[in-house]
Structures are given as structure tokens and as C-alpha cells.
């Protein structure tokens, strides 16, 4: 069975438009004008069980709207959603037992309570009996190293510790799918790394399907095997990470350091990105030529150092965003 199956999903918001200034305020009060904004324009995709999927796009692309429709928060205007075979619009509660959600910008925990009490509360929400909850908390505590602060009120925890607790809280009921919306927003690199490990571990040990959105490209690079990009409410790309990295933008970057007497005789297939003295940074389009061909533009004997790299994922994604505008 597919974990998630989305068909031709649509959502339109009615937006009140308002002109600037006092006159505009009066006008919109007396006779409000509305404009329809199609946030999601008929997207379709499937997610397999146990998959770790990145769902990305620029701000306002329709990511959150889509996630919210899949989790039963928003009501779609068209299309169909099946999450674990359940239709979120019809059986919201039934679905809720099976999925977990973490919204990086929204807190679900009671801040005056300790993580332990919070977990117990969540246990009650998901109708898990007390003994079982205690067992699960103990297990999660050890697995995710919450021992040192599990009895400290949440308001006294650092942001990183809080997010860890948020994630763990969403695991109490052992969800089959976890939706993570910007889980690492505002965290420092060390904590980010921690969170990523946690997510990876979850996927491995519980075989949890992970549906992740993030603006942090390294989150995606380190966690996901597959990526879906949407922009302006439309699906732009649905491919494996591998393909995205090596084929979607088939370009390499070559950094070359030459002795002063070295010569460079570039042709059209080699684009110079940067030049400083006799140091070059060039971009090679592998659709048009090969690395070997490109290297011929250099004086082989005078090369002191060479470094061939892929175009950074971040740039690839930026290019895709811009292209799909």
C-alpha cells in the first residue's frame, strides 16, 4: 500500500484586497473586494511506506497548504487525498491516530509542564493506557537522550531541546507517517545535526515514513532520498535525490590553480565563473562536452592544483525555482 497518494489536489483562498491608505481602508470596509488565489493548482504524487521525502519550494509555493490538507487541517477544494488509505476530509480522527506532525513554528507542548507530563498528556490524547505510555516514554527518553531535561519545565528548555521534545511528543503514538514542517528553523548547526540524526533514526528503527519540508538544503541533502519541488502551486519536479544531483543540472565546477607561465585558451563550452591572476573557476556543461575536453583548454604542465566539484544543490534548486516562475 502507498503511504500517501494525492490526486489532482486543489486549494483556492479568497483574499480580501485592500488599497493603501485611509481611503482604501474606508473603501474596503464599505465594499470589500475579493480576489481568488490558487494556492495549490492540482498536484498529484505518491509516497511509499518507509520513504523519506523532501517536499520543497520557495515561500508561498503551496507547501504548507498541501501538508495541511494531507493532515486534515485544511479542506481541499478539489482532488483526492489518501493517507494510509484514509481520506483526511472524511475521517480526520481516524487519520490522527496514525500520523504525527511537527510544525517548526508552532508549539504543541504546554510550556509550564515538564516534557514527561506533556508526553503523558499526549498519551492520553491518543488513548494509550498509562502503563504503556510510561514504557514508551522510557524508551524514547533513552533512544533520543532526553534524560537530563525530561523533568525540567518546557519553558526552561533551550530552543533545540524544545524541538526535540516536540518531535518526541509526536512519536508517542507511534505514527506511521511523520509530517515535519520546517523542523530545524532557527536552530544552530549542532542542534540541527542532532535533529537530523533523530529523524534518520526514527525512519530506520520504526520504519516511519517521513514527509519533510525545509528551506535548509542540507536538511534535505542529508536526509532525503527523494525530492518533490513545487512552485506557484504546481508540481515542478518529482525525482530521486541522486538524479537531481547528477542529471538534472549536468554541470561541474572546476577550480584550477596554475603557475604564472600557464596558459588558458577557453572555448564556448567552458564558462569562466571567476578569474584571479592565473587561478580559474570554470563551469563545464556535460551535455555539450566532457571534463577531458574541457581540461584541454589548460596548459597541463603548469597546473598546480585542481578541484572538480558538483554544482551545489542549493544552486540547482534555486535554478529550478527561477525557471518555474
Amino acid at each position: 500500500m502507498k503511504a500517501i497518494s494525492v490526486q489532482n489536489l486543489k486549494k483556492t483562498f479568497r483574499v480580501k484586497t485592500k488599497e493603501k491608505g485611509l481611503k482604501g481602508t474606508f473603501k474596503s470596509m464599505l465594499k470589500p473586494t475579493y480576489r481568488s488565489v490558487e494556492a495549490v493548482k492540482g498536484i498529484s504524487f505518491d509516497v511509499d511506506e518507509g520513504e523519506v521525502l523532501a517536499f520543497i519550494g520557495p515561500n508561498g509555493a503551496g507547501k504548507s497548504t498541501t501538508i495541511k490538507m494531507m493532515t486534515g487541517i485544511l479542506y481541499p477544494d478539489g482532488g483526492s487525498i489518501k493517507v494510509l488509505g484514509i481520506d483526511p476530509t472524511k475521517e480526520r480522527k481516524k487519520l490522527a491516530y496514525e500520523i504525527g506532525t511537527v510544525f517548526g513554528q508552532k508549539e504543541q507542548l504546554w510550556t509550564h509542564l515538564t516534557p514527561y507530563d506533556n508526553f503523558k498528556f499526549f498519551g492520553a490524547i491518543y488513548d494509550i493506557d498509562d502503563k504503556e505510555v510510561e514504557k514508551r516514554i522510557e524508551d524514547l527518553k533513552n533512544r533520543f537522550e532526553l534524560g537530563e531535561f525530561i523533568n525540567t519545565p518546557v519553558r526552561n528548555l533551550s530552543l533545540g531541546q524544545r524541538i526535540r521534545c516536540e518531535i518526541v511528543a509526536s512519536l508517542i503514538h507511534r505514527p506511521k507517517i511523520l509530517f515535519l514542517d520546517e523542523p530545524t528553523i532557527g536552530l544552530d548547526p549542532v542542534v540541527k545535526d542532532n535533529i537530523r540524526k533523530l529523524i534518520k533514526q526514527m525512519n530506520k528503527e520504526y520504519h516511519t515514513t517521513i514527509f519533510l519540508t525545509s528551506h535548509d538544503i542540507s536538511d534535505i541533502e542529508k536526509l532525503c532520498k527523494r525530492v518533490i519541488i513545487i512552485n506557484n502551486g504546481e508540481l515542478v519536479l518529482d525525482d530521486t535525490m541522486e538524479n537531481l544531483k547528477y542529471h538534472y543540472l549536468n554541470k561541474k565546477i572546476i577550480d584550477i590553480k596554475m603557475r604564472d607561465d600557464g596558459k588558458f585558451s577557453g572555448d564556448d563550452n567552458v564558462k569562466v565563473l571567476k578569474q584571479k591572476g592565473n587561478n580559474y573557476k570554470i563551469e563545464v556543461d556535460l551535455d555539450k562536452t566532457t571534463i577531458g575536453e574541457a581540461m584541454k583548454s589548460f596548459d597541463m604542465d603548469s597546473i598546480q592544483d585542481i578541484n572538480i566539484t558538483n554544482v551545489p544543490l542549493e544552486d540547482i534548486i534555486t535554478t529550478i525555482y527561477q525557471r518555474s516562475k
Binding site: 484586497t17 504548507s64 479542506y75 488513548d127
Partner: protein, 264 residues
């Protein structure tokens, strides 16, 4: 079905308990809020002392009846606000997208949302209500009836809050409706029903149903009538059903925290 209700009840009591705990973190503030609310209500009684000095019977009410009426008004208000404070700011919950958290949980969205905060000073209102009951002479049947009417009236107060708050699903700036309705309810509830006549009286039993919150219950406490009591219970069930229906109707239009106003 029964098990479902039991589970819902467990969550509500747990979240109310935690909400109380949260407010109790600052005991001084908690106690002073409660104490001042009692004092606040007591001070309003002075108004009636002056008025009863001018006339010994106002719209069929003696001074004692006024105390009972104030008890009823404060009790119903206190009941609704103490347990379901968030129902009175439902509008902002809807507009800010704060329902998200409850929508992903396998429990009743409306109940979880409105029971996530308690009204501290409302506890003062509840205490005040029973002080008034004692002052007007309490018997066991009267105590039970009074408590029953606090619940039915409280539910009507709650329903009106939910209905007016739910307008925010359709109109983004309707927090004014919410504020106005709760203000209207409390304003009319603290005066004897007999002074209102004609169309206003009709409104007070329909759109601003304080008739069922204070007027009728006080009437019943003075002269019991089984039939009217059953009607009262039925009316409160009707109101909460209507409110729930309206909330869930609106929920389909819930737009979470997606930006709603664009400037050109």
C-alpha cells in the same frame, strides 16, 4: 459511543487541570484576580441598594430577588469562562491559525480548543454566585436547581460565544461581533427581565438569549414549574447544538494561518 465520551471527558479534565496549574504558578496573581472579582461584583450590588431606597419593588423584584439574579448572572458567566475561556476568543484562534494543533489530534476540535485555558477571575464569579445563593436563603432543592441553571445558562453563554466567534470563518474582522455579543449578554443579564418590553423582550429570548440565562431561571427559583424547567434544558441543548453545527460548518472554510489580506 459511551467510551468515546469518556475519553473526551478525560482529555478535557486533564487539560483543564493543567490550565489551572499554569495559572497557579503565580499564586498571588491568581488569588488577587479571584478576590477582586468577588469584590467587583459585590460593589455592583450598591446600585440596587440605592434603587431600592427609591422604590421597594422594581419590575416585580424585591431586593432579595435581585441578589439571586446577580448570582445567576455571575454563576452562568463564571461557569462558561472558568472552564471554556478560549471560547470567548475563538475569533483570534481561527484567524491566527491556532486550531491546527487540535485538528491533528484524534479528539473533538472544538472541545479541545475551548478548554485549553481557564478564566481565573471567573472563579471569583462562581464563588460570588454561591455567596448570593446563601444570602437569599439556601435549601437543598434550591441549591441543586441553582447549580443546574448555572450549567444550562453557562452552556447558552458558551453557545453564543461559539456562534459569534465562528463568524470569523467567514469574515476575517468579526472579532467585533464576538466582543459585542458577550458584552450584550452580560449587560442585559444583570437587570430584571420585567423592565424590558415589546420587541426588546423578544430579542432577549432569541438573538441575545439572556431570558434563558437569568430571567427564566430566577423565575423558576422563585416559583418552580417543571414544564418550564424542561423547556429550559431543551433550549440550552438546542443552542449548543446550533453552535457546534455552525462551528463545524465554518471549519471547512478554515484557512489556518495563510495570509488573508493582500495589499495592492
Amino acid at each position: 459511543m459511551f467510551r468515546e465520551i469518556k475519553k473526551e471527558f478525560k482529555i478535557i479534565s486533564l487539560s483543564t487541570y493543567y490550565a489551572i496549574q499554569r495559572e497557579m504558578l503565580n499564586k498571588a496573581s491568581f488569588l488577587s484576580n479571584v478576590f477582586f472579582m468577588i469584590l467587583n461584583n459585590l460593589s455592583m450590588i450598591i446600585q440596587w441598594i440605592v434603587l431600592f431606597n427609591l422604590k421597594s419593588n422594581i419590575a416585580g423584584f424585591e431586593f432579595k430577588d435581585i441578589l439571586l439574579m446577580w448570582g445567576m448572572a455571575a454563576g452562568t458567566y463564571g461557569f462558561a469562562h472558568f472552564l471554556f475561556e478560549k471560547a470567548f476568543s475563538l475569533s483570534s484562534l481561527i484567524v491566527d491559525g491556532s486550531l491546527d494543533n487540535y485538528l491533528v489530534q484524534p479528539k473533538n476540535v472544538l472541545l479541545s480548543a475551548i478548554s485549553s485555558q481557564i478564566g481565573v477571575s471567573a472563579l471569583g464569579d462562581l464563588i460570588f454566585a454561591y455567596i448570593m445563593l446563601i444570602l437569599t436563603g439556601v435549601t437543598l432543592p434550591k441549591f441543586l436547581l441553582f447549580t443546574l441553571f448555572i450549567v444550562t445558562g453557562g452552556i447558552i453563554n458558551l453557545s453564543i460565544a461559539i456562534i459569534s466567534g465562528s463568524f470569523s470563518f467567514w469574515f476575517k474582522n468579526s472579532d467585533i461581533i464576538e466582543e459585542t455579543s458577550s458584552h450584550l449578554m452580560i449587560s442585559f443579564a444583570t437587570y430584571p427581565g420585567g423592565i424590558f418590553k415589546g420587541i426588546v423582550r423578544v430579542i432577549l429570548y432569541t438573538f441575545i438569549p439572556v431570558g434563558f440565562v437569568t430571567f427564566l431561571p430566577v423565575e423558576l427559583l422563585l416559583n418552580f414549574d417543571l414544564k418550564l424547567m424542561l423547556i429550559l434544558i431543551a433550549v440550552s441543548i438546542l443552542f449548543i447544538t446550533l453552535a457546534t453545527f455552525m462551528f463545524y460548518r465554518g471549519l471547512r472554510r478554515y484557512s489556518s494561518s495563510n495570509l488573508m489580506i493582500a495589499r495592492i
